[in-house]
Symmetry: C2
Subunit: 556 residues, 2 copies
Amino acid sequence: MAGTQEIKIADNAPEAVSGVPTEGSAAAEQGPSKNELKKRAKDAEKAKKAAEKAAKQKELEAQKAAADEDYAVASYGKESLNQSQSRPRRQRVQICSLNPSMDGETVLLRARVQTSRAQGNKMVFLNLRQRTDSVQALLIVTPEKVSKQMVKWAASLQDESIVLVEGAVKKSPEVIKSASVGDVELHLSKIYLISGLDGRLPFTVEDANRPEAEIAANEDVQYKRVLLDTRLDNRIIDLRTQTNQAVFKLQHVIGHLFRDFLESKGFIEIHSPKLQGAATESGASVFKVNYFKGSAFLAQSPQLAKQMAIAADFERVYEIGPVFRAENSNTHRHMTEFVGLDLEMAIEEHYHEVMELLDDLFKHMFRSLRDRYKNEIEVVREAFPADEFKWREGSEGTLKLTFKEAVDFLVEDGVPKETLDDIDTENEKRLGRIVKAKYDTDYFIIDKFPMALRPFYTMPDPEDPTLSNSYDFFMRGEEILSGAQRIHDPALLTEKMKEKGIDPASMASYVDAFRMGCPPHGGGGIGLERVLMLFLKLNNIRRASLFPRDPKRLEP
Amino acid sequence: MAGTQEIKIADNAPEAVSGVPTEGSAAAEQGPSKNELKKRAKDAEKAKKAAEKAAKQKELEAQKAAADEDYAVASYGKESLNQSQSRPRRQRVQICSLNPSMDGETVLLRARVQTSRAQGNKMVFLNLRQRTDSVQALLIVTPEKVSKQMVKWAASLQDESIVLVEGAVKKSPEVIKSASVGDVELHLSKIYLISGLDGRLPFTVEDANRPEAEIAANEDVQYKRVLLDTRLDNRIIDLRTQTNQAVFKLQHVIGHLFRDFLESKGFIEIHSPKLQGAATESGASVFKVNYFKGSAFLAQSPQLAKQMAIAADFERVYEIGPVFRAENSNTHRHMTEFVGLDLEMAIEEHYHEVMELLDDLFKHMFRSLRDRYKNEIEVVREAFPADEFKWREGSEGTLKLTFKEAVDFLVEDGVPKETLDDIDTENEKRLGRIVKAKYDTDYFIIDKFPMALRPFYTMPDPEDPTLSNSYDFFMRGEEILSGAQRIHDPALLTEKMKEKGIDPASMASYVDAFRMGCPPHGGGGIGLERVLMLFLKLNNIRRASLFPRDPKRLEP
């Protein structure tokens, strides 16, 4: 089309020189010589040609100017900073809502430019992304609508720019594999930059989203590998990957399921203070805070507060909140701050009431995740391959081992018994593998831990005082919950504090809470990020935390 | 009945002495003198009487022993410490489920002894409480079932002891006003102490629950007034009042409504770290933490993190979590730690999209509270009298004033204009009264605050750079939400930081978050305890916090 236009301009050119006066006609009246006439004719011819040439040149310049004139200036460009100047209330659509039945409809949407690819100077392909959804968009030079300048500008947009586009939905002739919405494409008529980039991307979202398996399978391609520390240093970009959008959707879902289940069982949510007057549980791993002219300490868990809520007749409480641990542990599963899903409830007869409720809670979470969030789980699995998470249902029920049985399994497997006063991380994993092989489950419970391994507030076993009414829950061979029946008797509590070297006076308000009558109770604390990491097999807890904190990381 | 028994014992006594041998009959064979006979007869009579007396005495002692024998020993007493010794799986009921249709049924339940009142030594009345529910129970001496000793023991139980009782439900002849379940009473057959008291109650729950109005209305009665500081020092007891059980049920409900509404609008929950590498927002009011060999700071809000989540394409996020303010403010509405209900969302056209969503959120909360939690609100109102909370519905909508209009109202009302660069707490309350009188609403919005009054990240108004795209929400004349459109452009953000005296380098990871493209966005932060305090008119924010923290209080 542009070609036709140019030819038309060339055709018109001769017409443009007609009617230009020459000196020749006036001179003829004087009857000049043949030579003179020849010379004049020659000169006239020359002048004519020169004039023609000049005119043509002038015309060409005008043509060129006309061709360069940007008839699309209003249809593209950088928007002025949105300071809420106006509110036209034009509906904007979501990419995920686009479908072939909308063929021909004009839509408006805001999206990121994931990638762009110019084809000559007449066309550009844009991959537009909204969170986990993407669609292909085309911008093609079109008379009076889309100018070359507009295409050039659009092609120059940096990846990750945020644009507002208007375009027609077109059914795509074949499925576009590079987009999550592959059965339509957008033919753009307008494109504005809402927010550009100030600097270069540390890595592209495509690079960040590429599974390790794909990199390994294509050894000849020089893919950019984005390592975890680089990701965390540039977490804002890293979080934009499909994988991370799914991971944090699932984090949200786990919290939601936790609440929903507990509320259906009569629990209410509490909010306990993180600032404590005394170092709780153990002084060694607590953060100290400058508190006006004195000091405070960050709660290592809502343990004390939730027990006090039970003493205050709340009966069944839960809390979702930050938990602080000043442990200098630089492992794949420790952070200095994580999210605790905590609960505590009065016991009627036996602490297994609590253990069973927690077991029901986990099975509810596992079932809902599997049944209702298949897509998100699959998205994550592309980046982090994992066997489907398995647990036991029905009359068979969750596998429950005593600590002694767990130790026996390990001894049978060749671990020296004398090393098994406690089950360390390595042996936990080993036990996970033994259990998986024997029972085909990724989820099990260990009950009846030795008293020596548990905090002072743990209720001893009624028959064997070296054991306790306490349990840990495991996923894929790692602990995700620790819980127990608690001591609700102030005399026994004081005795146990002393045994563990804690001065009861240093926690007076906690001990006093049990002096005015407290029902028997128990509970547990779940690490949200651990559940998320282990269910999805993310292999590092930092991947399950929005902005992780460890001894070496306080930013971003 | 007990009287009849005693008489029966007296009747039996003479029978018990029959058949006792005497010395008289053997001596008669030797033919003694008359005198001798007389003497003997006299002696015999004496001996007989003595023997009779001794026998009677012995018998009486046996009688007494029989009467004292406690045939009810198995039906009462202190239970051994519940260490989960057994699990009979006997169903226990809730007081709130008791009703006259259960007349004659035997039930088992755990409750606190709110009060007890002995009537003679044969009967004791117990008021049994579970959270906000109570029922009257009677224990009456009954042969072979309830002994005097049992009644005496039950009457000696301290208030607030936790007991396990078994008894028959009886339709009560007339409604028992002192109990929340007044149409039945429990005739106890068993009562065991699960958890007693170690010391004296600092105040009774009855005293703590008594409305100020009742105390004022009964000047002649010497009621014990429980002051706020005493309550907070003994928060475990204070929280057991009906009022507080309702207050914290409603706190739970507000959080639940906040989440539910936002999730229906496509928000997801995030958890951002409270440990920050740099002092955020303003250095003055931030708590410093010893972090291994360096320092960290406690987040004054999730402001920065939630904005960064928007830059990371989360689009709509909320967070419920602790917020820390190192302000030495000792007022009725400041705490050093409170619960922030925070949200942030991308803006399409105008920041009023955010303001309107927040407005819809509040109206949803108010409506649900009014319609679904009438009982809890009424319980609180008994202790804290308040006019019903009013807001505007329908086409009229929420009252929205600009800051300038608000100032004009105050000036009209007599406040000197020159004092109104800002609206202080006192003038806020005054404005609340003006608005209430003019518009009959306890809830309104002020929009368009001067830029000078807002944090550096606030987006300036597009026309008047001295104003900003920011708003506060008010309940009963006190601010409960502060929000705004934020600056999403790193250049403008840096400029505004410098204007407010903040070194952009000190918050590099925050500023950098906007360099890789960020949509226009806005949000707000709500103080959970303030909403609760103002909706219920609790008059002091500490009453709306489970374990409040202020510059002078870190316990319990």
